[in-house]
Assembly symmetry: C2
Homo-oligomer: 247 residues x 2
């Protein structure tokens, strides 16, 4: 699960210190680990093995020790986001940076924490401060992705069509004013200007695309026709051309 | 695991839509869920049950639909941090905000996503974009804690003693200059001023506390005595008064 969390967020180099069951693990355990890694097996296969924490961090320039609680050691304490911003800067300067995690049940001991430059911990509800190892790795890896590649979703609002041009909108608004006036929607008459403006503002908030305007205009035309001339409201048929794509 | 992740980061209100095995779950399953929740059982016990997503979001003002992939729906897309900043602002304005997660295997279907105002997704390695439900809840809950309570670790650098006063440091530096000069450490003599300055800068980088200065001065005095008058280097005995506290 920790290897998979690393792969999710762009980390690849795993170092293991004295795994309890050896490495690679016994067949049964190994299969379990590979299943949990869910495709991130390259990280398990390339994992480097060390006998002690001191050896594992030997070639690094900076080490964060991950702890859940205050451990009485005089080291700076950073939240994951700040720690990963610093890590990105150090890596850019050619320094090797390590994130040290302890065993599931016991965490890092004091001699291991003493090998680190600073402590990394989580802004967490003190009444429920228990994170398991894979969760801690997930949160730190996620902040690594944000710090190294930016906090950018892998996809954006689908561009079915570009934002409506002002002339398309104004033409639509004129159409609406005319038709709503015709059916005496703007009532009382002395409020007509305010009501028309409010109506336009409702539609502005939707940041309509060219396609959206065609869809709305087609729907209103169909309503006006009241079911007459059915089939003539062409634009509606292509209202959602990409609906369901990628689902 | 999702309930525990919520408790970790200060979320409490869980709504369940048509759980496959009913709710509360059959005894065996229920026990498993309570074990995974690891103390966060109040969230499971207070979970509200709904027959449909539409009913579950009925009293909310704004809903984020969590998806892993582009789903072809024309909705704004936000990363967790931005979504949770917006949520904190909406909640402060008295709006009810919901985070909609789909079932483990299938995710949300298109009709469910259509009930949301916007899409929430993760900045993730596209080659390893699979997060399980509990991981997705963990990341969003973590960003909720950061947005609502600040990105502040629950503990800081322990204050064994305050930062050293300038007069303490300068007295220590004078002592060092005198003793290092005496043993002819500053060599060649015309470099003495530069070497002394470099030495002071090394120590400045450590941001020494009053206690740190006493410890270093005690250690140097002990080295100078070469094992003579053992036991007179009192300050070392109290060098790490809080070591191990809270471990």
């Amino acid at each position: 699960m920790a290897a998979r969390a690393m792969a999710n967020f762009g980390l690849a180099e795993l170092r293991l210190v004295a795994p309890r069951d050896g490495w690679p693990q016994k067949t049964r355990m190994k299969k379990g680990a590979h299943q949990a890694a869910s495709g991130a097996t390259h990280i398990l296969e390339n994992a480097q093995l060390f006998g002690t924490v001191a050896e594992a961090v030997g070639d690094l320039s900076y080490v964060f020790a991950t702890t859940a609680r205050e451990r009485g050691q005089a080291k700076p304490v950073f939240a994951p986001a700040e720690a990963m911003r610093q890590s990105a800067a150090r890596l850019a300067a050619g320094q090797g940076v390590g994130l040290l995690f302890g065993p599931e049940r016991t965490g890092l001991d004091n001699d291991e924490i003493a090998l680190a430059d600073s402590v990394l911990t989580f802004p967490i509800n003190p009444e429920f401060a228990s994170l398991n190892l894979a969760q801690a790795v997930l949160l730190v890896s996620y902040e690594w992705m944000k710090a190294s590649a930016g906090d950018v979703p892998p996809f954006a609002l689908p561009a079915h069509s570009g934002p409506a041009k002002r002339e398309t909108l104004l033409s639509f608004f004129d159409f609406l004013d005319r038709e709503l006036e015709r059916v005496r929607f703007f009532h009382p008459p002395d409020r007509a200007a305010v009501m028309a403006r409010n109506f336009r503002n409702i539609l502005h908030k939707a940041e309509l695309t060219e396609q959206d305007v065609r869809t709305l205009r087609g729907a209103m035309t169909a309503l006006m026709r009241g079911g007459q001339q059915h089939g003539a409201s062409g634009p509606c048929d292509e209202a959602f051309p990409n609906e369901g794509k990628g689902s």
